[in-house]
C-alpha cells in the first residue's frame, strides 16, 4: 500500500476513533492521544515471532510489544557499521526510553502505548508483517515514509525516533568518537564564583517616590 493510501486508511480509523470518544486529552509528546484513538482498530493484526521472546527483567515499564518495538527501532535507526561510533547494544538505549516514558502521566502513557501499537501494526498494510519484523532497510524506509505522511504518521515516527536518538546520545560512551566534550567544569577546575555581591542602592531615576501612582 502506498503512503497516500495508508494515510487515508489511518485517517479513517482516526475519524472512527473520534466518533467513539469525542474527547481527547493530549499530553506529553503531543499527539500521543490522537494516535491512541486511531490505534484502537489495529491491535494484534498479525502475530510476530518476537511475541514469544522474553523481555529483560528490568523492562517493567514497557509492555513486551513496546520493548520489542523500541529494541527493533534501536537496531534500525542506529547503525554503526563502517564508523567509529559505539554500537547501540553497548549502551542502555531501551532502558533510557523506559525512564523517559516513566515521566508521562498515566493517561498520556496509555494513549502513547496504543499509538505505538498502531505504528507496529500498520506495517501489516504495507509489508504484510509488523514493524518489528521488518529488516533494517525496510524499517528505515518505513520511518522515512511516515515522516512524509499524515499528522499521525509524522507524530509517531518523530516520537519514536527522538526517544531512541536521545536515549543513545545521552550516554557517555557515544561521545568520544565524535569528540563531544561532555561535562567540563570539574575537569577544567573552574572555580565556583558563588553569589553575586549585593547591588548598590537603586538609582534615583528608577525609584518610585511615595505617592506615585500608575
Amino acid at each position: 500500500m502506498n503512503s497516500h493510501l495508508q494515510s487515508r486508511r489511518i485517517s479513517a480509523v482516526w475519524q472512527q476513533g473520534m466518533a467513539r470518544r469525542r474527547f481527547l486529552k493530549l499530553g506529553l509528546f503531543g499527539v500521543a492521544g490522537v494516535a491512541a484513538v486511531a490505534a484502537g482498530g489495529f491491535a494484534l493484526l498479525r502475530r510476530s515471532p518476537l511475541d514469544d521472546q522474553p523481555v529483560p527483567p528490568w523492562a517493567t515499564g514497557l509492555s513486551a510489544a513496546e520493548f520489542h518495538l523500541f529494541d527493533r527501532a534501536r537496531q534500525a535507526l542506529l547503525p554503526v557499521i563502517g564508523t567509529a561510533l559505539v554500537h547501540s547494544d553497548k549502551v542502555p538505549v531501551v532502558q533510557n526510553v523506559q525512564r523517559t516514558l516513566s515521566y508521562l502521566d498515566p493517561v498520556t502513557r496509555k494513549e502513547l502505548g496504543t499509538g505505538l501499537g498502531l505504528f507496529d501494526n500498520a506495517a501489516v498494510f504495507s509489508h504484510g508483517c509488523r514493524f518489528v519484523d521488518l529488516d533494517d532497510a525496510q524499517a528505515c524506509e518505513f520511518f522515512d515514509r511516515w515522516g512524509e505522511g499524515s499528522v499521525i504518521q509524522r507524530t509517531l515516527a518523530t516520537v519514536i525516533k527522538q526517544l531512541v536518538y536521545s536515549a543513545y546520545w545521552q550516554e557517555e560512551p557515544t561521545w568520544t568518537p565524535v569528540e563531544f566534550d561532555g561535562p567540563v567544569s570539574d575537569r577544567w577546575g573552574l572555580p565556583y564564583l558563588g553569589n553575586a555581591p549585593m547591588p548598590e542602592s537603586p538609582s534615583m531615576a528608577s525609584t518610585v517616590s511615595e505617592g506615585d501612582n500608575v
Partner: protein, 512 residues
C-alpha cells in the same frame, strides 16, 4: 529594618525534606508565587523595603554544584514536566525551568531590552501610555548593572559565532554581539543545563540570595493550588508541599494581603483559572505567544565543535522590525542530544553519518514575532497549551528559515538541514525556495521549540480586554499582582528576560 545577611554562596531554602508537620500556617506581607525572573526580583525589591516576603516555588532547589552539565539529565531535573512540556499537537516543545530560580537557571543568558517599536505598539493598542522608553530606561539600566549584562567580548564568541558573523558581513546584513548576563563566562557551552560554576547571573545567585539577605523566606517543592481572595481583595494562597518521590509532605496556607503571581506564562494563568479569579475579561490564558523557534543546523567543511565556547555569541538584527520580516537570527551552540532532535537527514545510515560528523555542524536559532493566537487551558485535571503556528506567522517562519539558510551558505556551509519531519537538505541558493517553500503549516511538520512563553495575563488599560493594569495589579482583585512574562500584551521578538526583570522591578517598587 532588620540586619542584612548576605551569604557568599548557596541559598537558604525550606524544602519538603525539612517539613515535620502535616500542615503549615504562615503569615506574610507579600507571598510570591514562583522564583524565576519576575518572582525573584519582586521578592528582593519588597524584602529590601522591609516587607515580610515568602516565596513559594513548585520546583525543587538544585544547588549549582549539583548541576551535571548533561542535557538529558538536566531536562529531567530542572525543567517543567521533565522537559516534556508541549503544545497539544506535540510539535512545539515549550521549555521552562521548574526549579528554584525558574527559567533563569536554564536560559542562554541572552539579554535584550524591549524593542522601542514593541513599546509603541503597547502604548497604541493597549493603552499602556506610561510604558515609554524613557520610563523604562532606568529600570533596564539598573537590572543590567545588577546582573553584569555586557556585550559579548571576542573571547565569548565561539567558532560558530565567528563563522556566522563573517557570513552576515558578506551578505551586508547587520550583525552584532549578543548581550549576556554573565560574569567571567567559563565558555563551557552548558548554559541550558544550568551554570555549574555560578557565572550565569541567574536568580539563583543574584536576586534570590539578595532577597534572603533582606529576610525573605523561600519554600521549594511547594506548588500553589489556589489563590485566596475575599471581597475582591487577595488574602493569601493555599499550597501543597511534595516530596521528590511524589508523596505529599504537607499542606500550606499563607495569609497575606498581597499576592504576586510569577509562575510563568503557562502556570500563572492556570492558577488564576483554578482559583476563579481576575477573569472578568475572559482573557486569562488567552493571547499566548511563544516565539516559536527553530534551530537550523548546517554542515561546514572545517570542524566547528558547536558545543565548545559560549552558547550564544552574535545575532543578526537585519530583519528584526516587522516591516523587514519580524525575526532575528542568533548563532547557537548545541550538544549531541539537541543535535539529534533538530534535523532529519534520513533514517538509519544518513542520520548516523550526520551525527558522526557532529563536530562540523553549526546552528542558527530563528525567533519570530508571532501573533498571540494561543491559549492556556485547564480542564480540571490537566493543562493544555493550545497553540499552532498561525497562517499569519507561517510566512515569517519561512522567511526566517530562508534567511538562516542563506546565511549558513554565505558562511561557508555545504549542507543546511531544514528542521522538518521529512528530509530537506539545502546545498545551494537554488535549493532554498524549493525546500522551504514546500513546507506546509501543518502540525508536526516543523520541529519547533519555545523558550519564551508569554502573554496569557496581558497588561492593558481596558479591564474588558486585559487582566492586569500597567502597575501589575489585576483589574479585578485588589492586592493580586502578576509579575512574569504573562504580562506582555504582545510577543516582543527578542529574549524576554530583561523585559521581565525591568517590569517586575517597576511593579514591586510601586507595591512597596
Amino acid at each position: 529594618m532588620s540586619e542584612v545577611k548576605w551569604q557568599a554562596s548557596g541559598l537558604k531554602v525550606h524544602e519538603a525534606s525539612d517539613v515535620t508537620e502535616s500542615h503549615l500556617e504562615l503569615q506574610a506581607d507579600v507571598v510570591v508565587v514562583g522564583s524565576g525572573a519576575g518572582g525573584a526580583v519582586a521578592a528582593y525589591e519588597l524584602a529590601r523595603k522591609g516587607k515580610k516576603v515568602i516565596v513559594l516555588e513548585a520546583g525543587p532547589y538544585v544547588p549549582s554544584q549539583d548541576f551535571t552539565e548533561k542535557f538529558t539529565n538536566s531536562l529531567e531535573t530542572l525543567y517543567q514536566d521533565h522537559g516534556g512540556q508541549t503544545n497539544s499537537s506535540g510539535d512545539l516543545l515549550v521549555l521552562q525551568g521548574a526549579c528554584v530560580g525558574g527559567s533563569t537557571v536554564v536560559n542562554g543568558c541572552v539579554c535584550f531590552r524591549t524593542p522601542d517599536f514593541i513599546l509603541e505598539d503597547w502604548q497604541r493598542d493597549f493603552g499602556l501610555d506610561e510604558l515609554t522608553q524613557d520610563e523604562l530606561a532606568p529600570y533596564f539600566d539598573e537590572v543590567e548593572k545588577n546582573l553584569s549584562v555586557h556585550d559579548n567580548g571576542p573571547h565569548e564568541i565561539a567558532r560558530h559565532g565567528w563563522l556566522i558573523r563573517a557570513g552576515a558581513n558578506k551578505l551586508g546584513w547587520s550583525v552584532k554581539p549578543l548581550k549576556r548576563n554573565i560574569r567571567e563566562c567559563g565558555l563551557t557551552g552548558h548554559c541550558l543545563s544550568g551554570c555549574k560554576t555560578e557565572r550565569k547571573q541567574s536568580m539563583l545567585v543574584t536576586y534570590l540570595p539578595w532577597a534572603v539577605a533582606h529576610g525573605a523566606k523561600i519554600y521549594a517543592d511547594t506548588r500553589v493550588e489556589r489563590i485566596l481572595a475575599e471581597g475582591g481583595e487577595a488574602t493569601g494562597v493555599e499550597a501543597v508541599i511534595t516530596r521528590h518521590d511524589g508523596s505529599q509532605a504537607a499542606t500550606l496556607r499563607v495569609t497575606a494581603p498581597r499576592v504576586v503571581l510569577a509562575a510563568g506564562a503557562v502556570q500563572s494563568p492556570i492558577l488564576l483559572l483554578k482559583s476563579g479569579l481576575a477573569n472578568r475579561s475572559d482573557m486569562v490564558g488567552r493571547n499566548f505567544a511563544c516565539h516559536p523557534s527553530l534551530l537550523v543546523a548546517a554542515r561546514y567543511p572545517e570542524p566547528v565543535h558547536p558545543w565548545r565556547g559560549a552558547l550564544l555569541g552574535v545575532y543578526v538584527d537585519e530583519f528584526e522590525h516587522p516591516d523587514k520580516g519580524g525575526f532575528v537570527l542568533e548563532d547557537g551552540g548545541f550538544g549531541l542530544v539537541e543535535m539529534s532532535m533538530l534535523a532529519e537527514p534520513g533514517s538509519g545510515a544518513p542520520f548516523m553519518d550526520y551525527m558522526a560528523n557532529a563536530k562540523y555542524l553549526a546552528g542558527l536559532v530563528t525567533l519570530i514575532h508571532d501573533h498571540n493566537v494561543g491559549r492556556i487551558e485547564w480542564d480540571g485535571e490537566k493543562k493544555k497549551i493550545d497553540y499552532q503556528l498561525s497562517d499569519m506567522d507561517f510566512p515569517s517562519m519561512q522567511r526566517a528559515i530562508k534567511a538562516a539558510a542563506r546565511l549558513h551558505l554565505a558562511s561557508g556551509a555545504t549542507e543546511v538541514y531544514v528542521p522538518a519531519s521529512d528530509k530537506r537538505v539545502i546545498r545551494n541558493e537554488g535549493d532554498i525556495d524549493r525546500e522551504v517553500g514546500g513546507l506546509e503549516n501543518l502540525p508536526q511538520h516543523l520541529r519547533m521549540v519555545s523558550y519564551h512563553p508569554q502573554g496569557t495575563c496581558r497588561m492593558g488599560a481596558d479591564p474588558e480586554q486585559s487582566v492586569v493594569k500597567a502597575n501589575g495589579e489585576t483589574h479585578d482583585v485588589k492586592g493580586l499582582y502578576v509579575a512574569d512574562a504573562s504580562l506582555l500584551p504582545t510577543s516582543i521578538i527578542v529574549n524576554p528576560q530583561i523585559t521581565v526583570y525591568a517590569l517586575a522591578t517597576r511593579i514591586a517598587r510601586h507595591m512597596a
